[in-house]
């Protein structure tokens, strides 16, 4: 289960909307599995169908987390034309077995609504989990 504050959910959604129709991505750092610090990342691909963290930005952010004893609790990205479910590409590159992979969909048919769902992706297996917003 992912427990996350409304404030952080709002930030993810605002980032996804701002970058639409390109995919938005980022991390929420925290300790002990609690997401706390919102870190929007640049999508180096600037693409509506693909995202990749910029490698230099990733090094900086990962070091910062190391220094602060944090881990990437949430790794989020948006799908801008499809549902908030991990694609085959998402699964094949999922590399943080301890992270919650949060997907948001900003596809047009949702109108004002945004779909936000969370998953564990370990060894190629997707497990959806409940999201509790506090």
């Amino acid at each position: 289960m992912l427990t996350i504050s409304q404030d952080l959910v709002d930030k993810i959604i605002a980032h996804a909307r701002a970058d639409h129709p390109d995919e938005a991505c980022g991390v929420i750092a925290g300790r002990g599995g609690v997401p706390e610090r919102f870190v929007p990342m640049e999508n180096a691909e600037r693409s509506p169908t693909f995202y990749r963290f910029d490698s230099m930005e990733q090094l900086r952010v990962w070091r910062e987390m190391d220094d602060r004893d944090e881990e990437p609790v949430v790794i989020y990205h948006s799908h801008t034309a499809t549902e908030a479910y991990p694609s085959r590409t998402d699964v094949s590159y999922a590399s943080e077995p301890d992270a919650h992979y949060v997907l948001v969909s900003t596809r047009e048919e949702l109108g004002e609504k945004v779909e936000l769902r969370s998953y564990r992706i370990v060894d190629g297996v997707i497990t959806e989990e409940e999201v509790t917003i506090t």
Binding site: L59, H79, Y93
Partner: protein, 92 residues
Amino acid sequence: MAIEVRIPTILRTYTDGAKAVDAEGATLDELISNLEAQHPGIKDRLVDQGALRRFVNVYLNDEDVRFLGGLGTPVSDGDTVTVLPAVAGGSR
């Protein structure tokens, strides 16, 4: 002295859980071979057909080795090599 290699969570199964290990070599290629001798199986996660895997980032100190010389990048004692799996995906 040796070169410190920082290992990401997902590859720590090869290093008995260690976050950092020491290795030796004059180039990144040699360093990875030395790493493989100590931690069998790890090389295949970093290198594919003689080149760094596309979705693995390897940094020499503060630089992405892709912008240096890839596997041919010279390394020396006291350097730190950091391995981070790229965070990537897509809707297709």
